[in-house]
């Protein structure tokens, strides 16, 4: 069992590509990464109900870290928390990390068996390698 990861984006294509990039770091390893992105009709947007369902699907009892792109993705993720059972909500952490960098960092440590807060901390320092390189 490991911490689950959820990606919330306006764009299904953007979310799927970010997950593909992150999964490159996990050859042969299993990790629950769920996506809630875009609208039913294929247009750009976020759906709080879909986010709450993705969190439930990603949750194995060890906690869930949610990464988002911007704007309504953040508001929909916050709204999704209200739609969850209290017991599940307590295990969820919304990360302010940048989506791509945060996701890559998060999945590596999550697949390694780290706890929720450690996964979130790794996501939060996702910009550090880039900042060090460009300094």
């Amino acid at each position: 069992m490991s911490v689950g990861v959820v990606v919330v984006s306006h764009s299904r294509a953007l979310a799927d590509a970010a997950v593909e990039l992150a999964r490159q770091m996990l050859p042969g390893r299993e990790l629950a990464i769920e996506v809630a992105a875009g609208m039913d009709d294929g247009s750009l947007g976020t759906d709080a109900v879909a986010v709450s369902e993705a969190i439930t699907a990603a949750d194995s009892g060890e906690g869930v870290v949610v990464l988002m792109d911007l704007g309504s993705a953040v508001l929909s993720a916050e709204t999704a928390l209200e739609l969850l059972d209290d017991e599940v909500r307590e295990r969820v952490l919304l990360s302010a990390a940048p989506l791509v960098e945060g996701l890559v960092g998060a999945v590596v440590v999550a697949a390694g068996g780290a706890g929720r807060d450690q996964v979130a901390a790794e996501a939060a320092r996702g910009l550090a390698p880039k900042e060090a390189q460009l300094r």
């Binding site: 759906d47 704007g71 709204t79």
Partner: protein, 196 residues
């Protein structure tokens, strides 16, 4: 209105709001293309069309259930930030509608403030909804509240946006009414036409 609104009155309000959003869809999107991501009209129209369909398919039995269904549909179907914001408005109203329209709208407004973390003057729906709530709380009519919302919308024109996608534009966001304040003015116009 001091009495609690009925399910029929609230259905008429929400249906009329959906009509106004549909009629002004292009205007709302044009405002949003000037200062945001050009989707407010189409997003709100998609959301309110889904709300009317849900209410028609299975009419709720009481005001709280009606407002809950409206809010839950909006958080799922709008797509943009107005989904969680309008959705939270209606979901919070559901908890207070037994006390009357004014307390319900105030509870909804508090929910919008908590969700969006916008303050008056940030060029958001808060600038139309807040003045409307103030008028109702002071004992004013729904028509007077609608006028206050319209005045609030007009007052967003010179403002620089500090929230949402428009905030990336900085000074360029001045000179246009805020799309969210504009749709909120229609929400109160619909209330004035159906709840008075």
């Amino acid at each position: 209105m001091s009495d609690a609104p009925t399910t029929e009155q609230l259905t008429a309000w929400i249906t009329r709001f959906a009509e106004l959003v549909h009629e002004h869809r292009d205007e709302l999107t044009a405002l949003d293309s000037a200062i945001g991501d050009a989707d407010h009209g189409s997003n709100m129209d998609r959301g309110m069309t889904a709300v009317v369909a849900a209410l028609t398919e299975a009419p709720p039995d009481d005001p709280a259930a009606l407002l809950k269904k409206t809010g839950a549909t909006l958080v799922s179907k709008v797509g943009g930030a107005s989904g969680p914001l309008y959705g939270t408005l209606f979901l919070r109203m559901a908890g207070a509608v037994g006390e009357g329209f004014a307390p319900a709208l105030r509870a909804g407004f508090d929910g919008v403030l908590a969700r969006g973390k916008a303050e008056p003057g940030d060029k958001t729906m808060v600038d139309a909804l807040g003045p409307a709530c103030d008028v109702l709380d002071a004992g004013g009519s729904v028509a007077e509240a609608a006028q206050a919302a319209a005045d609030g919308r007009d007052a967003t024109v010179p403002l620089v946006a500090r929230k949402g996608r428009a905030s990336y534009l900085g000074e360029r966001s001045a000179g246009h009414a805020d799309p969210g304040a504009t749709s909120t003015a229609y929400l109160l116009q619909a209330a004035a036409e159906t709840l008075s």
